[in-house]
Amino acid sequence: MKALVWHGKEDIRYDTVSDPQIEDARDAIIKVTSCAICGSDLHLFHNLVPAMLPGDIMGHETMGEVVEVGSAAGATLRPGDRVVIPFTIQCGECEQCRRGNFSVCERSNRKGELGDKVFGHRTAGLFGYTHLTGGYPGGQAEYLRVPFADTTHIKVPDGIDDEKLLFLSDILPTGWQAAAQAEIEPGDTVAIWGCGPVGQMAIRAAVLMGAQQVIAIDRLPERLSMAAAAGAITVDFERESVLDRLNELTGGRGPHKCIDAVGTESHVSLGQPDTLYDRAKQMVMLETDRPHVLREMIYACRPAGVISIIGVYLGLVDKIPLGQAMNKGLTFRMAQAHVPRWTDDLLRRIEDGQIDPSFVITHKVNLAQGPEMYTKFRDKADGCIKVMLKP
């Protein structure tokens, strides 16, 4: 089969690889009908995530049709079923899964000992990501083996386009969780840093959850225009002071809820001197992340507010003003998305016409064009916000 394969920094190739096989009774094989490039794939593209091996297949936003089912997965899946695959793999049985904390499933990371050593305790297996999270082959491919397939799938009905359903795999529940864990209440002002795909979903989620005022912060005009389309007030951090604008919009008190949809790779510029410091340290491996947004959120947030972190961080951050956070009484909520916790509800909202996630797709191309699309997406060229790939 054909697949997008990681070979090293900035080196993604459209390779021919062997077809996946059923390895366990709970496995299924799906024929991929649509997949996408995620912002967190760029961390792999930039080789910022440790424990990747040349030859690893990329991709964790995938949907398709079931073509083969292991003997223990037959109770819930049959060949021909149309499914979206969550980016987290969940056993459905461990204590964390029973609590709904699917992204920290205790059993799905097949290299859990490594996760135990690096994170203290293992987290869930992920598709197309580092070997710290199992090193499972990803879904930017023609076929995908789904481990624990009986519980790692979202069945979706016929009659709705892939474009509307694909993002149940990641960015829609991820953006939704960002807003949900911010505990938005009517009357709240919610500030969202980063108007990439997850930020865009978080904006829509905040609106649906009743935020009185949603403020979207980015520097790219096309992303800001998309944010404004959902009613957000936009702030271009290259043209205006984020802190001044937030204070102006909140009577000097700051937003009640702050959402970080940027994560580890904050934009580096002279206007944000701390990002130069972080980038320099990152280059010589003295720091793994550039937490500019986190610092700014702590400073900007209203006392007793909530900081919701959904942008991916990798490891060690520096110069975090924890004293400010503690004295202001801020609450921190963060996690990789517990995808199945939200997807039944979100599928209902898609069917009900409350949200149509296809708005975010700016480029739809053949899988063979994947390598060049990684570069285009990274460079934000040609108005690229979200790439959908068709095998």
């Binding site: 089969m1 109770a75 959850m209 959902a230 460079d379």
Partner: protein, 197 residues
């Protein structure tokens, strides 16, 4: 991949194996820049660790300390050149090329018996400077945002009922999961207890 080497992690037996390589996202400019970065590492190490032979070779015996400092500079410029911020590294390399040419020009005096070697060194540095310039120009062009290509997505609300009518639709619905509460989203599956290997 130091971690993978230290831990000895490997792909699992059943995972798809590479059969043949296809087109890469790496461009010719990326490869040239990478080569220039590794050239910086090699030259920088040589200048830093063995400035004496280099100084003698071009008749600049009194400038060992300067050549060692240039070695450190080369190594420093290699870091961004080999990173994703290539333009920063290439700009640093170009500035360094100018310093190198300026220093080598002092070895072109008639009184220098190694003048011939110095001429060759100047020609080599000039050639590398040209490569640095071409790579820098190509990298800047590849990553430049073109003003005329700004896209307007102000019609893409993603909220089919419109933003004002969508406000608060998800509030006070009993079916809406909370950030603290699990749901029955796993359905009625009764999976076998065997873990994946």
């Amino acid at each position: 991949m130091p971690l993978t080497n230290v831990t000895g992690i490997a792909r699992s037996d059943g995972d798809p194996r590479l059969i043949s390589k296809g087109p890469s996202s790496l461009t010719g400019t990326d490869r040239l820049t990478r080569a220039l970065g590794w050239f910086s590492v090699g030259l920088g190490l040589m200048e830093f660790l063995a400035p004496g032979p280099l100084a003698r070779g071009v008749g600049l015996e009194g400038k060992r300390g300067l050549i060692r400092a240039y070695g450190a500079r080369e190594l420093a410029s290699a870091i961004p050149t080999l990173s994703v911020d290539k333009s920063v590294g290439l700009a640093a390399r170009l500035a360094g090329d100018m310093l190198d040419l300026n220093t080598l020009s002092t070895a072109l005096k008639r009184s220098n018996p190694k003048r011939h070697n110095a001429r060759i060194a100047v020609a080599l540095v000039a050639g590398v400077t040209l490569l640095d310039f071409l790579a820098y120009r190509a990298v800047k062009a590849a990553h430049r945002r073109k003003g005329s290509s700004v896209h307007d997505y102000s019609e893409r609300s993603g909220l089919p009922r419109g933003a004002p009518a969508s406000l608060g639709l998800a509030r006070n619905e009993s079916a809406t999961p909370s950030a603290h509460q699990p749901t029955a989203a796993m359905g009625g599956a009764s999976p076998s207890p065997r873990a994946q290997s």
